[in-house]
């Protein structure tokens, strides 16, 4: 009797171990995929046109959504900051707090999340569709390496455009905060600006931009991998896209935590 009772438990453990094994294999394959993309990035031919076209899609195409998100985030942060600081009669610190929060944390993270939703999902869908309709196999059969042709330009474009979009987020976010803080919450301009100058140093902005570079690499590798390894027709492409967005979002938050811990300690 006792032996029979343990069978479902054993099966559940066996299934869980199999899932863990599959997840680790998938992660390992993605790391090899990233290393292969890195190796192909330094081999000719260098396709500048494809990189520029991906920069336009990932970067220029995301200006609106990143701009809107940045502006509203800055506006909300200023209003919430004013609400909290007012209790200590410290409204003058709102400008500095918002600028610091944007530069080190919110701009890179929110930019990466928004670009993942817009461009990352499109990358996974496009490559997934190309995989299941044999377009990637066709490229391979024509002696054109698909990782070099399809993946490398997207990774390079993401690494370049994520910091640029983060900077846009910073600027518009601070402008939004300024308008709300100075014109709506009536915080005096002098302390608002002065505390921004004392709180925020260039290293904080650089810290945020480095985060953006890494987020660009993480998001582009994950979304390209999910599309590139898609299988099973349109359902497989849909699942790949969903997994791409979920894995990228988690990846951004985990990498952000690790970098912040490394940067400021516990």
């Amino acid at each position: 009797m006792e032996g029979n009772a343990t069978i479902p438990v054993k099966r559940a453990i066996f299934r869980a171990m199999n899932r863990l094994k599959a997840a680790l294999e998938d992660f390992g394959s993605m790391i090899f995929f990233a290393l292969e993309a890195l190796a192909w990035a330094f081999r000719p031919p260098f396709r500048l046109g494809l990189i520029l076209s991906q920069m336009a899609f990932i970067g220029v195409g995301s200006v609106f959504i990143v701009g809107v998100t940045g502006t509203f985030s800055g506006m909300v942060l200023a209003l919430q900051g004013n609400y909290a600081m007012k209790q200590f009669a410290a409204e003058g610190y709102v400008g500095g707090s918002v600028a610091l929060a944007l530069a080190r944390e919110l701009a890179p993270v929110l930019t990466a999340l928004m670009v993942t939703g817009r461009a990352g999902s499109a990358i996974a869908t496009e490559l997934g569709t190309m995989r299941v309709t044999e377009q990637i196999d066709a490229m391979d059969s024509m002696a054109v390496n698909p990782i070099q042709y399809l993946v490398v330009p997207r990774v390079i474009a993401s690494i370049l455009m994520f910091p640029a979009l983060t900077m846009l987020f910073n600027v518009l976010g601070y402008m939004g905060a300024y308008v709300m803080g100075v014109y709506v919450a009536k915080i005096p301009v002098g302390p608002f600006i002065e505390h921004t100058r004392t709180f925020l140093v260039p290293a904080d902005v650089v810290h945020g931009l480095w985060k953006a570079v890494l987020f660009g690499a993480v998001v582009s590798v994950i979304t390209c991998w999910r599309g590139y390894s898609a299988s099973g027709g349109s359902r497989g492409v849909g699942e790949g896209t969903t997994r791409a967005v979920v894995s990228s979002s988690i990846g951004i938050l985990v990498v952000d935590y690790a970098l912040t811990l490394f940067s400021v300690g516990s």
Binding site: P45, T133, E134, Q135, S141, A143, Y149
Partner: protein, 246 residues
Amino acid sequence: MIQVRDLWKSFGENQVLKGITLTISRGETYVVLGGSGSGKTVLMKHVIGLFKPDRGSVHIDGVEISSLTGKALTEARGVFGMVFQGAALFDSMTVQENVAFPLVERGHAPAAEEVRERCLAKLKVVDLGEEVLERYPAELSGGMRKRVALARALVSDPQVVLYDEPTTGLDPITTAYVDGMILAAKEKLGITSMVISHDVASAFKVADRLAVLYDGHLVAEGTPAEVKASRDPYVQRYLSTWFEKQ
């Protein structure tokens, strides 16, 4: 030209190929017949190095393509052109960009005018003209897409063209046209062809030699007359589906 020796391949528990051995001579049209899921496409993808065998080897002009990786494999594929089942045209590119792709992207691209001329020359082989150059694949019929795919496969003057189910999903007139196209590519350009198909009529029309793949084995191989005379029960059943209609 192409030698496949004792090729084995499985996907998980599913053993797809069980020791395939075949030889295709230069200038020959070799057809592999078989039902859906018999492993025909898997066999073809081994020939061009898209799959690695579990055991066995594939040699192209003495070079073992199944052991190559990276840049060496990419270069070895230069001798091939391949026509995929669904044409596999790049849907974000025009017909001209599709056909020119192997010329432009393999490095040392010719001048734009020469690229255009070569594209037009190959489109002419498949009876298409200048009017389709700027169209996108979504604007073409199924038969036209297959013809553009063949033009793309031929544009870099390959020694071998692989056809994956070239007549699947086509009406009888277009099927006859595609058969003519395969024969024309052989006669006009002297190309070696490997055709994967389940279409008995087309296979017997275009093949110099053919083989029947069943349950991971080649159960019959030879000239069309030899295969037709095979006593293997599966081959007899498979071929009777068409010959009894005649």
